[in-house]
Amino acid sequence: MSARDDILGAVRTNKPAIDAPAPTVPNYDNAYPQGADRLAALFAERLATMGGTWHALADGQSIDAVLQDVLADKVGKPFDDAVIASNVPEVAGNRPLTESDVPASVHDVDIAVLRARFGIAETGSVCFTEAELTVNAVAYLAQHLVVLLDPAEIVANMHRAYQRDDFVNANYTVFHTGPSATADIEGVLVRGAQGVRSLTVIPAPATPA
């Protein structure tokens, strides 16, 4: 443990002797629209700029029908053969996930359907913890993500997001903002760099368990 004591000792000796109190961080959310619907509209707009798709259900449309509508020509196989892992009661899926799954084993998933813990209007981000993912790796190894988001669970901005207690309680908390992306080859934007190729958000109030 000597490296530890040496480093801490050097830091103690060398740290600048200045009175520098931690500032208070304002919420900066006065200009945000009030009400779940208007916040959801802003969310949808920001999500689109990050490459995600907002897909509200048409009257009587099922979530299964949306999956087919949005992803049938993207899965690269007949839609009936698509491997669908669902963590939400609204969609049955055909590939159950359990906490004891070896993470690499979920690489066969074409579409993962998850519920977001909350959303952030400022950036169009959805948040998951291990509770929503079951197997964390599925959110990255699946080819496509479909996310149910309760419009009542959209916060205005980052400051509001970080006031939630998830970061203190969950082992893993992640914001997804659109699908995986890269511009590492001559600045050309490519979706689906290493992780999911597409991300679709469906507004859907949470059903009581």
Binding site: I7, P23, M158, H159, N171, E186
Partner: protein, 498 residues
């Protein structure tokens, strides 16, 4: 050229793409000759132009993002204050972070330098029989020479960031901290992937190339024994850390194998979760001009059935903390904005700096690692202050660059051309008034001096580039006095710092 004419240059480019410039690297113990390497880079005009365009595009997008946020300047000030506060209490926050991380079941290690970091990680890998590691991009691990070390002990490292993977396959260092292969053109990547991954050498479409890499890397990811990430921030209050990527590759590295090792520089600490709001809002907007990275990942404890290690690395940071003029460089959040805005970086390419950190932050960080080797770097600047203006944590970068020139001169690290130039520059820059007079003289001198006086060996920045033409209306100060000051009741003293 009109639209109807065939473009012989374009046809030629397809047939024989310009070869990728590879600036010479200084041998061990030798001084990096930035100006010479930059010239080698500029000798490939298509690459030089592509680099300049792409890097400037990031700067332009950054400005657009900044302008959409009314409180942008307040956020920069808050970020700066949070970092100052943290660094002034760094020992306490490190201890708090360690205690919380341990309570969450994370193994915490401390490394004084890169060699110790590599040894510690190697030990963890040996214990677990690790043969292959998937790794996210980490500038700290670059500092430590981690990949080279692992090569030498026979552990395979697979970079999962596309840009870093390109550089790994090419046996080259990253040239930009955010976009490692920003100096490469797609023709370079097509050639490299054809050689290394067996892709079609004639297809240089970015989507095709990224797809080829995805297909080639995926089996390696599924089969890895351990994952490594760096960290953008470490939160003392939770004992957790935050990693930002656009590809989701840090999440793959951390979540697919059971063993996760994170290397974290001791300056990455922030006190509270709520501080993250400030930094996440600033980071990607400053870096790439996007509102946020696609993935912002918070790791607080090992996943179920998994094991997590953190290596806290000093590698010169505690020493830098004691440097009165330079400690605030530890606030750096590695966004790269200062590089994107720097006229010298844009025109010289990152590899010409011969160091882990290129551009303005490189000028102020690298001499703390090796004053002799990097003694030329603080001169690779026009001191125009643009870096300072974009820095999200308000580091006085250009003043520190000038400060390093003085320190290096005092310690006898300068080659003679620099010494001669500096003694004059030092006198002039020491007084604001003298500086303004000098700027005026220089501007008129630029108009009238013969070419040989500007483009000679004494003036490294005259080599390989044309000097900008001086503004017709005199200096900014002249303009300011004419247009602004005359309308103001109170005139600031000439000697006021601006």
């Amino acid at each position: 050229m009109s639209g109807n004419e065939p473009n012989p240059a374009a046809t030629l480019q397809r047939a024989t793409p310009e070869a990728q410039p590879r600036p010479a690297k200084a041998a061990d113990g030798k001084r990096v000759d930035h100006a010479r390497s930059a010239k080698q880079f500029l000798n490939a005009p298509e690459h030089a132009k592509s680099h300049d365009t792409r890097v400037w595009a990031m700067r332009t997008k950054r400005d657009k993002q900044a302008h959409t946020i009314e409180e942008w300047e307040e956020l920069r000030e808050l970020a700066s204050q949070i970092k100052t506060h943290t660094l002034a209490h760094l020992d306490t926050y490190l201890e708090q972070f360690e205690a919380n991380a341990k309570a969450n079941g994370i193994h915490v290690h401390w490394a004084a330098d890169g060699a110790e970091h590599n040894r510690i990680v190697h030990e963890i890998f040996t214990e677990h029989g690790v043969k292959r590691v998937i790794k996210a991009k980490s500038m700290l691990m670059e500092e430590c020479g981690f990949r080279h070390y692992m090569d030498s002990v026979g552990i395979e490292i697979v970079e999962t960031d596309l840009g870093e993977r390109i550089q790994q396959l090419d046996g080259e260092d990253p040239s930009h901290i955010v976009v490692p292969p920003v100096h490469k053109m797609r023709s370079d990547v097509a050639r490299l992937f054809a050689e290394q991954l067996g892709s079609d050498p004639d297809n240089d479409d970015a989507h095709y190339l990224a797809g080829a890499q995805r297909d080639a890397t995926r089996p390696l990811i599924l089969d890895a024994d351990a994952g490594m990430t760096g960290a953008n921030f470490a939160v003392a209050e939770t004992g957790g850390f935050v990693v930002c990527t656009n590809e989701g590759n840090a999440d793959l590295s951390a979540n697919v194998p059971n063993l996760h090792v994170a290397s974290i520089g001791i300056e990455k600490l922030v006190p509270r979760v709520e501080d993250m709001g400030v930094f996440i809002r600033l980071l990607s907007r400053s870096a790439l001009g996007s509102p946020i990275t696609q993935y912002t990942s918070h790791f607080r404890a090992p996943k179920q059935g998994g094991e997590m290690h953190i290596v806290l690395v000093d590698n010169g940071r505690s020493k830098r903390l004691g440097m009165e003029k330079f400690w605030s460089s530890l606030k750096c959040i590695r966004c790269g904005a200062c590089m994107n805005t720097c006229p010298v970086y844009r025109r010289s390419g990152g590899l010409s700096y011969g160091a882990t950190y290129a551009g303005p932050l490189g000028l102020i960080l690298n001499p703390t690692f090796d004053a002799h080797r990097y003694s030329n770097l603080p001169f690779a600047s026009t001191l125009n202050g643009s870096c300072t203006n974009v820095c999200p944590v308000k580091i006085n970068i250009h003043e520190q660059i000038f400060g390093w020139r003085q320190v290096l001169a005092e310690n006898g690290h300068l080659p003679w051309t620099k010494k001669t130039a500096l003694s004059a520059a030092g006198k002039v820059l020491a007084s604001p008034k003298g500086y303004r007079v000098a700027i005026k003289t220089t501007n008129s001198a630029l108009k009238h001096l013969p070419r040989w006086a500007l483009y000679n060996r004494m003036n490294a920045w005259g080599e390989g580039r044309e000097m900008p033409s001086p503004p017709d209306n005199g200096t900014f100060h002249d303009w300011y006095r004419r247009n602004r000051l005359k309308n103001q009741a109170k005139t600031p003293n000439e000697g006021d710092s601006q």
